[in-house]
């Protein structure tokens, strides 16, 4: 994934020289640490659990992990865009549930009001409509945030409740399970078959994750939209004065976040063979954690697709490993939380160290300059 990435933005205060792959440009230690840190953590986690349990590194378990990671990673990709912009999207978990509920209802058939007609959309129409509903919810988020200047936290917190509530309204206390199989003749069968398929041995969700990661990586690095997104996240005012359409960029990222959540809604519904009212609960938090562990700054402007995917794997491997070695669910939460805090703390400490170093350098060079002036007995003035 994301092989073409030039890491867009090393943390503020980092020394010059952005890395351009190959081409003999300077090796950037800092970028390696920020991104490599998550990778190192991942390796350590895998190593520890592999030693502790024989069942950890089995093909079956890895497939299970990958599928779980994919759900989180796809939501996290959307979240990455939002966080790059300096925003946050708390509604994605509810959008996951809402999308599934919409899809489930479409399988059940839509009763056209005032008639006896019940419409049964075909399978792909169901999928497209459901995901579009996810995007629509994101679009509402985006409009409220970009046009009315409302705080992303508040808007998406509200939408978390709204979308979850609508999910419950649609399901009306019942899970939709059997209808998902479709009925012969209605052109809506085959849902489970498609989503249980494993092209080249990988679960479909993993493929979706890979494809989305590649697309997002290209969008972020090769298109004006991507550049604008980084610029807006780092300094919105400057971006605006440079002619960046900051409002439309802002709106679009929430739509894309809704898209990602919608896709996961469908994938997850297929995975558990049911549309349930609590589908996707807490997904927003896992997604934020993945993005942050992957080295993104919550203040915006810094973060990569590669880091986010690694972050999702860190969370996935950790969670799975804790289950396999038999850590109690209560302690699992404690450990996962601690890892998230640790990731951000290390990032911050790195930046502080960096700043101190460059400050010390500046002082040293100023002292040296003063000393040499004094030695040569110049008046110290250039007039």
């Amino acid at each position: 994934m994301s092989t073409t990435t030039t890491t867009p933005a090393p943390p503020a205060g980092a020394p010059a020289a952005e890395e351009k792959k190959g081409l003999g440009s300077r090796f950037n230690m800092n970028t390696l640490l920020v991104e490599g840190r998550a990778l190192i953590a991942l390796v350590i986690i895998i190593a520890i659990f592999a030693i502790m349990s024989d069942n950890y590194l089995t093909a079956g378990n890895l497939t299970t992990i990958t599928k779980q990671v994919a759900f989180n990673a796809i939501v996290a990709l959307g979240m990455l865009l939002v966080i790059l912009n300096g925003g946050i999207d708390l509604s994605v978990g509810s959008i996951v549930g809402f999308t599934a509920a919409v899809a489930g209802n479409l399988f059940r058939g839509v009763h056209v009001p005032g008639t006896d007609v019940t419409m049964f959309p075909s399978l792909w129409v169901i999928i497209v409509i459901s995901i579009a509903v996810g995007m629509l919810v994101g679009w509402v988020n985006g409009l409220l945030i970009a046009r009315l200047n409302l705080a992303p936290f508040i808007v998406t917190l509200g939408m978390l409740y709204v979308a979850r509530g609508l999910t419950e309204v649609l399901l009306n206390g019942q899970n939709i399970t059997n209808e998902l199989r479709g009925q012969e003749g209605l052109n809506n069968t085959g849902f489970f078959e498609i989503f249980a398929s494993r092209p080249l041995g990988l679960p479909l969700a993993a493929w979706v994750m890979i494809i989305l990661a590649i697309i997002f990586s290209i969008v972020l690095n090769r298109t004006p939209f991507g550049r604008w997104l980084y610029a807006t996240g780092s300094n919105e005012r400057a971006a605006q004065l440079s002619g960046v359409p900051v409002r439309s960029v802002k709106t679009q990222i929430y739509v894309l976040s809704g898209l990602c959540a919608g896709i996961v809604g469908i994938l997850q519904m297929a995975n558990i063979s049911s549309a349930t009212a609590d589908l996707g609960t807490f997904y927003e938090l896992n997604a934020i954690a993945a993005v942050v562990i992957g080295g993104a700054a919550l203040s915006g402007g810094r973060g990569t697709v590669r880091g986010t995917i690694i972050g999702a794997f860190v969370i996935g491997f950790l969670a799975n490993g804790l289950v396999i070695v038999g850590v109690s669910p209560f302690w699992q939460k404690v450990i996962t939380g601690a890892v998230i805090i640790l990731a951000v703390a290390v990032d911050q400490i790195q930046q502080i160290v960096q700043r101190r170093r460059s400050a010390a350098k500046a002082v040293a060079s100023a002292r040296a300059a003063a000393a040499s002036r004094a030695a040569s007995n110049e008046p110290g003035s250039n007039s």
């Binding site: 867009p8 933005a9 090393p10 943390p11 503020a12 205060g13 980092a14 020394p15 010059a16 020289a17 952005e18 351009k20 440009s25 290209i218 090769r222 298109t223 004006p224 550049r227 604008w228 980084y230 610029a231 996240g233 780092s234 300094n235 005012r237 400057a238 971006a239 605006q240 004065l241 440079s242 002619g243 960046v244 359409p245 402007g301 810094r302 500046a362 002082v363 060079s365 100023a366 002292r367 003063a370 110290g380 003035s381 250039n382 007039s383």
Partner: protein, 567 residues
């Protein structure tokens, strides 16, 4: 923590003997590669007002930040009462009796006067609760002393700016300030409020408080000064007792040698009107206060027009409205023949007008990005092929532009924050130039950059002007207004006051025209709607109207008549 009674009478011993209380020895400050202060020696005397003069970027503010503990010096020593000290923070400075009042007042407007005065230094009762009674008592004493009869429970947001300033002063006094630094204290005050402030300052000095005072209003500052200190390019160039100096001396010292650039002899073959501003009025969105009042002005192709004015004259508001950031509430703006009324910033850049903003850090740079990505940000769409940025084209454009505007950088992949202020500014200008503008607007383009870079930036602008670019820029440095423009217009209080030909204008004329109280040249008589019919600014007052600004005699006569009317 200071007891109330002590606040009021402790300085009565030898209050104004003029002894040195605070000394800065060889203070130097470096930001990255920029040397903001180059080894300054500076003294503050008890019971005296020391006024700091200097243009923007001369180093005054940096020194004040060091004296008040906001910044630490790169080299040098502060000496307080003969003891070397290191100020660790602003709180540390306050503890030692050094307080600063910033231009932007630093009050919690939702709290009362009393709470603001004791914020962070609350007086406690024995149980640890706040001793409101004691606080109120001291507040009342302070207010009596400062001759502002403000009840302690008044919310700060209900006070006028002048009163808020008094609250800041009271807070400094409550913290036992012996040295009070005031940064542009009069910029938001009315003439009456300035008088009151000066009275307060005199009262403080008579009790032995040392005042350090910074202001761009030279005459006003001279009036209150005991000592005049002049900064230039990061150095202290002159110290003199105020009694021995006059305005001319201050200006001479501030400007020093003439800048080593002078574009007064540049050719003046201008083309058609590129930018036409017709009766533009801008009101602050929040308050509805009119900050730009009925401004009319034409800029021609190849012409460089300078708007000179002090802070608060409405210059920035005008520029931002022209760029499309803020709406105008009256008049219209034409780029060539095109009315820009409904165009946003993006559209305006696309049809050929971009702004180089005043605050480079806040509005000009994307700090997390490289030099190259900053440079190409505004013109990115031009390099798009099949949805993607053509990276090779982008990199070539940027490399060419880096050479063209002479940015000193390790390369386009260097972080923008690694550059000096002057080079950062060249990137911001280069970014707009990459969009092939017809008109470029620059708000204080040389703020905070060194003299050499200033010359380079103007050389660049004049070079582009010769190719037909129309330039409108704003400055508060009279030297560059004269040496680097084809035409110079003084702006004050939201209006264009008077137009000069830089080849004949003198500093005194320009400064006088921009003076706060000097409305002699004010053409404020223009009725609403009047200016819309009169797109050209009056050139009548200029000593030698240039060809492009000269008007039909009848038109001029009409304006002369209009001038006579009351404001």
């Amino acid at each position: 923590m200071t007891e109330g009674a002590a606040v009021l009478d402790q300085h009565d011993v030898a209050p104004d003997d003029g002894a040195v209380v605070l000394q800065a020895v060889d203070i130097a400050k470096t930001y990255g590669v920029t040397r903001a202060l180059k080894g300054v020696n500076f003294e503050v005397r008890r019971g005296k007002v020391t006024v700091l003069f200097g243009e923007n970027g001369a180093g005054k503010s940096t020194l004040m930040k060091i004296l008040s503990g906001v910044e630490k010096p790169t080299a040098g020593q502060l000496i307080l009462d003969g003891e070397p000290i290191n100020l660790e923070s602003t709180n540390d400075a306050v503890e030692r009796g050094i307080s600063i009042i910033h231009q932007e007042l630093n009050l919690a407007s939702n709290l009362s006067v009393r709470d603001n005065i004791f914020i962070g230094r609350e007086i406690r009762t024995r149980t640890g609760a706040i001793d409101y009674g004691k606080e109120r008592e001291i507040t009342e004493q302070l207010m009596t002393r400062l001759e502002e009869d403000i009840p302690p429970n008044t919310l700060v947001q209900d006070l006028r700016v002048g009163q808020q300033q008094v609250v800041e002063i009271a807070r400094a006094l409550a913290a036992d300030a012996r040295i009070l630094i005031m940064d542009e204290p009069t910029s938001a005050l009315s003439a009456t409020e300035v008088e009151v402030l000066f009275k307060v300052i005199r009262e403080l000095t008579s009790h032995g408080v040392a005042i350090v005072y910074i202001s761009h209003h030279l005459e006003e500052a001279l009036e209150i000064a005991d000592y005049a200190v002049v900064f230039r390019d990061g150095e202290l160039v002159a110290t003199e007792e105020a009694a021995n100096v006059d305005l001319g001396w201050v200006v001479r010292q501030m400007v020093g040698r003439e800048a080593d650039y002078d574009f007064r002899d540049e050719p003046r073959d201008f083309g058609d009107v590129a930018l036409s501003i017709q009766g533009v009025t801008v009101a602050e969105p929040d308050t509805g206060r009119v900050v730009v009042n009925d401004v009319s002005l034409d800029v021609r192709e190849g012409e460089i027009v300078c708007l000179y004015g002090l802070m608060g004259a409405g210059r920035t508001e005008l520029m931002e409205a022209l760029a499309g950031r803020d709406p105008i509430s009256g008049g219209r703006v034409l780029l060539g023949d095109q009315d820009m009324a409904d165009l946003n910033i993006q559209d305006r850049i696309a049809i050929g007008m971009g702004l180089v903003p005043e605050d480079r850090q806040r509005d000009g740079l994307v700090q997390m990005m490289t030099v190259g990505k900053n440079m190409s940000l505004a013109s990115l769409l031009q390099t798009v092929k099949n949805l993607f940025i053509a990276r090779k084209v982008e990199r070539e454009n940027v490399d060419r532009q880096i050479k063209d505007v002479r940015v000193k950088t390790a390369g386009q992949d260097a972080l923008i924050t690694s550059l000096s202020g002057g080079n950062q500014q060249k990137v911001v200008i280069g970014k707009i130039l990459l969009t092939n503008p017809k008109v470029i607007l620059l708000d204080e383009p040389t703020r905070g950059i060194d003299v050499g870079a200033k010359g380079e930036i103007f050389a660049l602008l004049f070079r582009e002007a010769r190719k037909g670019l129309a330039v409108l820029y704003v400055t508060s440095e009279v030297g560059e207004a004269i040496t680097a423009s084809h035409r110079l217009i003084v702006m004050s209080k939201g209006r264009l006051i008077r137009e000069f030909d830089p080849r004949t204008a003198t500093r005194d004329d320009i400064m006088a025209a921009s003076g706060e109280h000097d409305t002699h040249y004010d053409e404020g008589a223009a009725e609403p709607g009047h200016a819309a019919e009169e797109p050209e600014l009056a050139a009548g007052a200029a000593k030698e109207p240039t060809a492009e600004t000269a008007k039909a005699p009848a038109e001029q006569a009409a304006e002369e008549a209009a001038k006579g009317a009351p404001q």
